[in-house]
């Protein structure tokens, strides 16, 4: 069985992001970049399926600038076998990513594609679903547990009312939720091994896909600053302020 995981290079989750001077995007110059945390979970799940003998080959795919190789290397250090980078300097919207991944799927013919449910930079939560639609494959979104049996996958999903377990036929697209697993650290011996694993770099133009943006960003701005609170002396004063200043009670 072959599994493909998609990994995205994003601004590190713990960085306090700033809007660039032009007000068009988030500043990414000299900012710590890491693998999208949901994608890390996808890689970990793929590695676990490999370790359990259910997967023979795990391929990590990224779409982005040349620096995304570093993100692929992290996936390789966690246990993926080889990497593919679709290289582009332009930001690609989820539909474009899904189309590109579809092309990669037609070349690689994986049995499962595991993607993070969303990337923490744009929070779109669209790529997995769009990819499943374009491929006309079943999808198991927001997985908190995955069980593979022969040609089927049981996927436990976190839904509003609790947990829902569905069974889907392979090939399928699965998107990961936060509680699926806890990703491992990259150990030094594995980082060294990962340096020798192959990464296939495909210039985006070679794939001949329409990736023109469908959405136009008009403006990016920071949320309004929260004003400092006040400490009130007693309940009476609190009620007075709620009534007359905040006007939330009458």
């Amino acid at each position: 069985m072959k599994i493909l995981v998609a990994v995205k290079r994003v601004v590190d989750y713990n960085v306090k992001v700033r809007v660039n001077l032009e007000g068009t995007a988030v500043e990414t110059n000299n900012v710590k970049m890491s693998m999208n945390p949901f994608d890390e979970i996808a890689v970990e799940e793929g590695v676990r399926l490999k370790e359990s003998g259910k997967c023979d080959e795990l391929v990590a795919v990224s779409i982005g600038t040349s620096s995304s190789q570093e993100t692929i290397r992290t996936a390789l250090a966690m246990g993926a076998d080889r990497g593919i980078l679709v290289e582009t300097d332009d930001p690609i919207e989820p539909l474009g990513v899904a189309k590109l991944l579809k092309v990669i799927c037609s070349r690689e013919k994986p049995d499962i594609v595991i993607v993070g449910k969303q990337a923490i930079d744009d929070d779109a939560n669209q790529t997995g679903q769009m990819l499943a639609a374009l491929l006309d494959w079943p999808q198991g979104t927001f997985a908190s547990r995955i069980n593979i049996e022969n040609t089927k996958a049981q996927v436990t999903r976190e839904v509003d009312v609790g947990l829902e377990t569905i069974e889907i036929n392979l090939p399928a697209v699965i998107s990961t939720d936060l509680r699926l697993n806890e990703p491992r650290y990259a150990s030094l011996p594995n980082i060294m091994k990962a340096k020798k694993k192959p990464i296939d770099i495909i210039p985006i133009t070679e794939l001949n896909i329409d990736i023109a943006p469908r959405v136009k960003v008009i403006k990016v701005s920071e949320p309004p600053k929260r004003e400092a609170g006040v400490i009130v002396e007693n309940v009476k004063e609190l009620l007075e302020k709620l009534r007359n200043e905040a006007k939330v009670i009458s």
Binding site: Y13, N14, N30, Y185, L188, P189
Partner: protein
Amino acid sequence: MTNSAYQKIRNIVGPTGVVEKKLDQEKYLTEWRGYWRGSCDLIVRPNSVDDVSSIVKICNNQSIPITPQSGNTGLVGGGVPSGGIILSLDRMDKILNVNVSNSTLTCESGTILKNVQTAADSVDRIFPLSLASEESCLIGGNLATNAGGVHVVRYGNIRDLVVGLEVVLPNGKIWNGLRSLKKDNTGYDLKHLFIGSEGTLGIITRCILKLFPKPQQISTAFVAAKSIEKIIKLFLKFSKFAGETLSVFEYMNSLSVEIATNSIKGNRYPFSAFYPNFVLVELTSSNQNNELALTMESILSDAIADGTILNAVLAKSIEQRSNFWRIRETIPEAQNFKGASIKNDISVPISNVQKFIEEADQATSQIVPNIRHISFGHIGDGNIHYNLSQPTNMEKNTYLEKRNVLVEKINTIVQKLEGSFSAEHGIGLLKKNELTRYRSNEEVELMKMLKKMLDPSDIMNPGKLL
């Protein structure tokens, strides 16, 4: 103290400068862990150098003891009062100047360490002093105790991070040594007399601190090794190949990592196999080129290849880095779950660290069989927090009765290995006996002469240190 002195001091600082409510007094009177509780006639919180000076003059005239107090986060009881007044610097918390071209920051001594760090950060610099209590300890206390922490291996103790000081002397006069000079060979370097003096020679009121470039790259690894010997070997490798970037080199024995990962929620053991010893290594650089991770990888892979280390994991995100740090930082907290603990803060020359641990482990196990050794700390400085938790099957009090025997044994080994019985925590009340015991008569006499000359009426933090 006399009522007139009381009134005079009260008049200097005004009603907001004295702590009169019983409930509010508690945090000044009680040592934060509850090991000591002192008493005094007045708790005063001046908010200017001149007020400090006037108060000290009154106290000097009437021989009223002064316990200078900072954040009250010390570990040896240096801020516990015995009569007289507590002079707290906690209202003198202003950052007065941040000078980017001089790379200095001037502040009052009651500034919280964290606020100094934040002010440095806002101009893209760092103030590298970093320790467990940084969100509540005050810079004056850091100076008075020559605080160390996790970055000493690269930046030194706070003594190395100061260019100028202002001190109110025991006679109430103000010595202004606030000079931002890197080079200033004009007689005795007086500031160093007050740094580490634990409030016995004067009250530090203002200081000029050194700032450093902010790291643009950080590479953090959690490393497993077979023995202390190998860890020292690894330290020498890092010193040789990454010397100027080596910022943290923190040792943890297997038990300290085990308790931190088992008893603290959110911590996770970073490996899948058992290892006997660990180090947290961090390299930082102000250079933006992304080469630091490669340096880290190349040193560690070399160390694996020649058998110096057994395994290592590298932080690939800020989250992973904080996970590694949290293990190291929660060891003291985790110890609280393991019953009574006897803590020793010792240092020996790096070449003797291995001998110390071997001999001390053996000797303490002979005194209390099944004693649990939780050793960790700044091994790059030869400083080990050599903590001893009680055996699981022993009564807490039975164990604590062995305290003196254990501490004495450890200190004897430390002395033999040319070390120090108090590496960074100071003397205070707790280690006064050790000072006279393990330091030469000449050394102690010289300290007493200095004290007597500067503070003839013995009003400054009496009963501490000497």
